[in-house]
């Protein structure tokens, strides 16, 4: 059974149809990249997976549970699915460590001591040891983004969603963040990534999906898609990128 299973999802904002029948499966431990032109609905799709947006038609199953079931316990879903946005949105009134600890302590009511230990380990893992007590305002964009990743991981999700997490960063710090994600993927975390970094997608992805105007135009393993794209739109998009 795939960990995430998306079937014929339709989603509109008012009259604007943003997703027009998207289907996609992600197995445990797999890393999936979604690429496509701006406005093609990538962010919307990813936000639907953890229930930030609701859908009009189709189904999204996470570990076999329907996300859009009104009876679903959203809390349980969000514990399973972590998400990191382009805008890192750290809580500016809390230190890096507190940002990471907050959800497990306040939401899951886990014991403080235990959470702190885990949080420190996570901060070390994103290579930010020493920055525990620094406020987000004093961290660089890349550092903030890595804290945001650690913050999501602290909930011990089964799958991580990344929405153009490096788009707002300067080239310098992009690398650090990508490295962190790469290690995560290597450790076996299931990841769904929206990204414009084609080189990175090629390197880490098990499977790449190309979306345009609300549908998945083409998908396949990275070498195949990047070098032997069949669809003309995919080819045009890729040629512009490189």
């Amino acid at each position: 059974m795939p960990l995430v299973s998306i079937k014929d999802v339709h989603k509109s904002f008012g009259k604007l149809e943003v997703l027009r029948g998207v289907s996609l499966d992600v197995k445990k431990g797999e890393v999936v990249c979604i690429i496509g032109p701006s406005g093609s609905g990538k962010s919307t799709l990813i936000r639907c997976i953890n229930g930030l947006n609701d859908i009009q038609k189709g189904s999204i199953l996470v570990e076999g549970q329907e996300v859009n079931d009104p009876k679903l316990d959203k809390l349980a879903l969000r514990k399973k699915v972590g998400i990191v946005f382009q805008q890192y949105n750290l809580f500016p009134h809390k230190t890096a460590l507190e940002n990471v600890m907050m959800a497990p302590v306040k939401v899951l009511k886990e014991p403080r001591r235990e959470v702190e230990e885990r949080a420190r380990a996570l901060i070390a893992k994103v290579r930010l040891s020493g920055k525990e007590d620094v406020y987000p305002g004093h961290l660089s964009g890349g550092q903030q983004q890595r804290v945001a990743i650690a913050r999501s991981l602290a909930m011990r999700p089964d799958v991580m969603l990344f929405d153009e997490v490096t788009a707002a960063l300067d080239p310098e710090t992009v690398k650090e963040v990508l490295l962190t994600i790469k290690e995560l993927a290597a450790e076996g975390m299931t990841c769904i990534l929206v990204t414009h970094e084609m080189g990175f997608a090629r390197e880490v992805a098990d499977h790449v999906y190309f979306t345009d105007r609300g549908v998945i135009v083409e998908h396949g393993p990275p070498e195949e898609l990047f070098t032997k794209a069949k669809d003309e739109r995919t080819q045009r998009f890729l040629s512009q990128i490189f």
């Binding site: 953890n50 930030l52 959203k74 809390l75 969000r78 514990k79 972590g82 998400i83 946005f85 805008q87 949105n89 750290l90 809580f91 500016p92 009134h93 907050m102 959800a103 306040k106 939401v107 899951l108 305002g137 945001a148 913050r151 999501s152 909930m155």
Partner: protein, 283 residues
């Protein structure tokens, strides 16, 4: 002329390095004005005592009654503290209700906020003083006696509550939407997000206007004297009556009252402005 970019940078630095000297100037201001006022009071008192036929010079009368007036001022302070506490609690609640997604709650909250924001304090004071009963029947069976000063305190808290409600609403609305979203994606409930993420961030923004409203509130408390509450102004007037209602008492007594309030409010204003600047520089 300076290049615009440079000018901007210089300004920001100037503001931050300016703070201590600005504060100093503030204290100078207090000293100067306090001196000015006391000397004025003494001068008028003296000038008039020369020709007066009264048994006691106005200044001596003022000094005799100062403890009595100060005792009244304690009531001003007490009323202002209590009213601010009430206003803060109610104001936060009302501000949150204004943002409530159910119109049943948000519309009345909006109405209450705007009614009390747009009515004069004095009118609100009259309404509460004359229409609120002297005794409140508590649900437990007992009664709670609303003395005049308590009612006045409650009356003063209403306009402040309404304005704080707007401040709270504005502060919450100004928090970027991403904060709500990332909290939501971390499984925070709406209430938890408000309590742990949003409100703490609002506090900083809301502190300067909150202090500003406290100052306005403290300056409104003398209105209670109109309805017989024996605070500083009421006591000063009673003292003038007791001292024979001599017209030469008016200037020194009222000057003293002005000075009294100035000495209390001005430092608060200065402090407020300092905090405001500090936050402006930080963000």
């Amino acid at each position: 002329m300076k290049a615009p970019v440079k000018a901007f940078r210089i300004d920001v630095e100037a503001v931050s390095s300016f703070l201590p000297s600005r504060a100093l100037r503030g204290w100078h201001g207090i000293l100067l004005l306090a001196l000015l006022l006391t000397s004025l009071a003494i001068a008028t008192a003296h000038a008039q005592s020369g020709g007066g036929t009264g048994p006691q010079s106005p200044l001596a009368t003022l000094i005799e009654w100062i403890p009595f007036i100060l005792r009244g001022f304690l009531l001003n302070l007490g009323m202002s503290f209590l009213a601010m506490a009430i206003a803060t609690v109610l104001g936060i609640g009302l501000g949150l209700l204004q943002l409530s997604r159910t119109r049943f709650l948000s519309v009345p909250a909006w109405l209450v906020t705007h009614l009390f924001r747009n009515s004069p304090w004095l009118v609100i004071l009259f309404v509460v003083m004359l229409l609120v009963p002297f005794e409140l029947q508590l649900p437990g069976g007992g009664t709670f006696v609303m003395s005049d000063w308590l009612k006045a305190t409650f009356a003063f808290s209403l306009p402040v509550m309404a304005n704080l409600s707007e401040i709270v609403r504005g502060a919450i609305v100004s928090i970027p939407k991403g904060q709500w979203e990332s909290a939501e994606s971390l499984a925070f409930t709406h209430g938890q997000t408000l309590r742990w993420i949003i409100l703490p961030q609002c506090v900083k923004r809301a502190i300067p206007p909150w202090m500003n409203w406290y100052a306005l509130l403290a300056m409104a408390t003398p209105m209670a004297s109109i309805l017989g509450v024996r605070e500083a102004v009421g006591n000063a007037q009673a003292a003038m009556e007791a001292a024979g209602a001599r017209p030469e008492l008016l200037v020194p007594f009222y000057l003293f009252l002005l000075l009294l309030f100035f000495a209390y409010i001005y430092p608060i204003s200065i402090w407020t402005r300092m905090i405001e600047r500090k936050y402006a520089v930080e963000s």
